[in-house]
């Protein structure tokens, strides 16, 4: 609906204008395909303990002396193929990122629309809540939530539900990202005359919100969601790096960086560098795409007022 009215040709035209965005889109496609189909595409299954061989441990990338072409990006201290580990790790990073954006979006849009349309004390209450939330920077809140989960759940349950704890932590700490702009956009939209015209038809608040206002704030939501995905992946990586995110049994990219870190001093840099680079490329291309979306949608949004 959104894209259709923005006219596909316009977006497509502006996309082709920007070489960097095309490159970002390409990189993102490669990464996402690699992650989604990792069980079939990856050279080995890093979780298959039986296939690990300590003789293969700590091998450098294939193009360096001592490297093996079987292990393109080298191996870790357990003899795991880094490339496969990264592909599987990225899968987990992406799942966490997407789920937490979805959660944050659901909370943020609901509260943002409610606050923006209702105004008055409802608005004041939700926004004070958001202020308090802002006093806890997202990474801190995420740390806290996983800290609480860690101390209340038994370690077995925690291991099993680590992914959802992380999603919850990131989602709950980034909803303000959506709520504030959605509220602002909603407050702008609700004073516009097309909303007044809808009220003259006697439509209810919910109908007006969903039918008229929501489609008109989706443009900015799309941009935030894209940029928010980058933020979520970064937070997840940071949490895992600090040892409170994904456990080593379900390693995300951040976990890989964290576990490879101790080997830098020994000169075995590839265990850290490659997963870290993957995070960087992933987030960079997501950000590039978000920036482009914002620029591409904005003048249009302004024109259409």
């Amino acid at each position: 609906m959104l894209l259709r009215s923005m006219s596909e040709s316009h977006l497509w035209h502006s996309l082709r204008q920007s070489v960097t965005t095309m490159a970002a889109l390409l990189a993102l496609t490669v990464l996402v395909v690699g992650a989604v189909f990792s069980p079939w595409l990856a050279p080995t299954n890093p979780f298959d303990v039986a296939s690990l061989d300590l003789l293969n441990a700590s091998m450098p990338p294939s193009w360096l002396p001592g490297g093996d072409f079987k292990f393109l990006l080298g191996t870790d201290a357990q003899g795991r193929d880094m490339l496969s580990a990264i592909m599987f790790g990225m899968r987990i990073s992406l799942i966490v990122g997407l789920c937490s954006v979805a959660l944050a979006m659901a909370i943020g849009i609901t509260l943002g629309l409610t606050a923006g349309y209702a105004g008055g004390s409802v608005d004041a209450f939700i926004m004070r809540f958001a202020d308090v939330q802002l006093a806890f920077p997202s990474i801190l809140l995420a740390l806290l939530i996983s800290g609480i989960a860690r101390s209340t759940l038994s370690s077995q349950t925690y291991q099993a539900s680590a992914l959802w704890v992380v999603v919850l932590a990131i989602g709950l700490s980034t909803w303000v990202l959506f709520a504030r702009p959605v509220r602002a956009a909603c407050m702008v939209e609700k004073t516009k005359d097309y909303v007044h015209a809808a009220r003259l038809l006697g439509l209810g608040r919910v109908t007006i919100l969903l039918r008229h206002i929501l489609p008109n704030v989706l443009g900015s939501v799309l941009v935030i969601a894209t940029l928010g995905l980058g933020v979520s992946v970064l937070i997840e990586a940071s949490l895992s790096f600090l040892g409170v995110g994904m456990p080593p049994t379900q390693p995300s990219l951040g976990t890989l960086v964290s576990s490879g870190r101790d080997y830098i001093a020994a000169g075995e840099w590839w265990m850290t560098l490659f997963p870290a680079l993957t995070v960087a490329v992933l987030v960079l291309s997501v950000n590039l795409l978000g920036d482009w979306l914002r620029d591409a949608l904005n003048p249009r949004l302004r024109l259409a007022r």
Binding site: K192, D193, Y194, A197, L200, L201, N216, L303, A304
Partner: protein
């Protein structure tokens, strides 16, 4: 008084007031000794419009004419006073309109760029009232009705699938009229419907409205700051200043012999194309802030005929010929 005793009134507004409380919160008033600040946007406004006629409301920015429009259409709840509609059956107060009554009261807005949902093709916008009020149910009927409505307001029926940004300002205003017509409305509030448009397009839109009014026997409340548009469009005219109706009466009468000094000032200062090289302006004076209007008659600081009584007593509306005027001069 009713404007035309021979004609039944479609809408009667009695003692309408709307206040906005701009005061700081109670604790701040307590701590800093700040005063309550109440903006009387509309203050005790009474008028009625005979069926099939147009009442023009004119005044400068901040005089409360748009607030009247919003109260009349129920987009705002008045602080006091009442608005009654009579569509031929029983008298219905605006706060308790039946869906049927609500359908008959529609509005055309000033800004044609914000009055259409930018994400909707215009066919969907025009069809919405048809569906909401159950006027047409089958898909084919709705499509035909939308095409008919578009042609009624002078647009191509084939443009129904287009989006608002593909239309010019004048065309969008026509689409808004089509949406109001889709409701089969009987009473239209026109809130500065042409002030965002160019003169040549304004003429087109005003013509469309005149034709529709004659054909469908519509009743208009026409709000504008443009005296000449009001002069041309309305049968009756009301002049507002700082929330009050200072003069109301038949258009020809008010424009030929304005009785309130403010109406006189407005008519005198409006630039006219037939008076080349003439600027007729008082040396100073501006509309004061509606938050702190002057006491007594709120126009007294700018009035050339100011008397002592004007500074202390707010004038009541009095009959003067076919008009009602709120001025101590007219009261004799």
């Amino acid at each position: 008084m009713t404007l035309d005793p021979a004609q039944p009134s479609l809408i009667a507004v009695k003692g309408l007031s709307k206040q906005f409380d701009l005061s700081p919160p109670w604790w701040a008033r307590l701590l800093t000794g700040a005063q309550r600040r109440v903006l009387k946007a509309v203050d005790d406004v009474t008028f009625d419009i005979p069926r099939g006629k147009t009442l023009g409301l004119v005044g400068e920015s901040g005089c409360g004419k748009s607030t009247v429009a919003r109260c009349v259409t129920n987009l705002m709840v008045p602080t006091s006073g009442r608005v009654d509609f009579n569509f031929g059956g029983a008298v219905e107060p605006s706060t308790a309109l039946s869906p049927e009554g609500r359908r008959k009261v529609q509005m055309i807005f000033q800004d044609p760029y914000s009055s259409l949902n930018p994400r909707w093709p215009i066919s969907k916008t025009i069809a919405e009232p048809l569906k909401v009020f159950g006027l047409k149910t089958s898909r084919a009927e709705i499509r035909d009705e939308v095409r008919l409505l578009l042609e009624t307001v002078g647009l191509h029926a084939d443009d129904a699938h287009k989006y608002p940004h593909q239309f010019s300002g004048g065309q969008r205003q026509r689409i808004c009229i089509a949406r109001a017509l889709a409701c089969r409305s009987e009473f239209l509030v026109l809130d500065e419907p042409t002030s965002a448009l160019d003169v040549s397009v304004q003429a087109q839109i005003l013509n469309v409205m005149l034709e529709l009014q004659a054909r469908l026997h519509l009743t208009f409340l026409f709000i504008s700051h443009d005296l000449s548009v009001i002069f041309q469009m309305s049968d009756y005219v009301g002049v507002m200043y700082l929330g009050r109706l200072v003069e109301i009466g038949p258009t020809a009468e008010v424009f030929r012999r304005p009785r309130h000094p403010y109406t006189q000032l407005l008519l005198q200062t409006v630039p006219r194309t037939n008076l080349v090289g003439q600027i007729r302006a008082p040396l100073s004076g501006e509309v004061p802030s509606p938050i702190k209007p002057p006491g007594g008659c709120s126009f007294h600081p700018r009035c050339p005929h100011v008397m002592d009584v004007c500074r202390s007593v707010a004038p009541k509306q009095t009959q003067s010929g076919a008009e009602l005027v709120a001025c101590h001069l007219a009261a004799g």
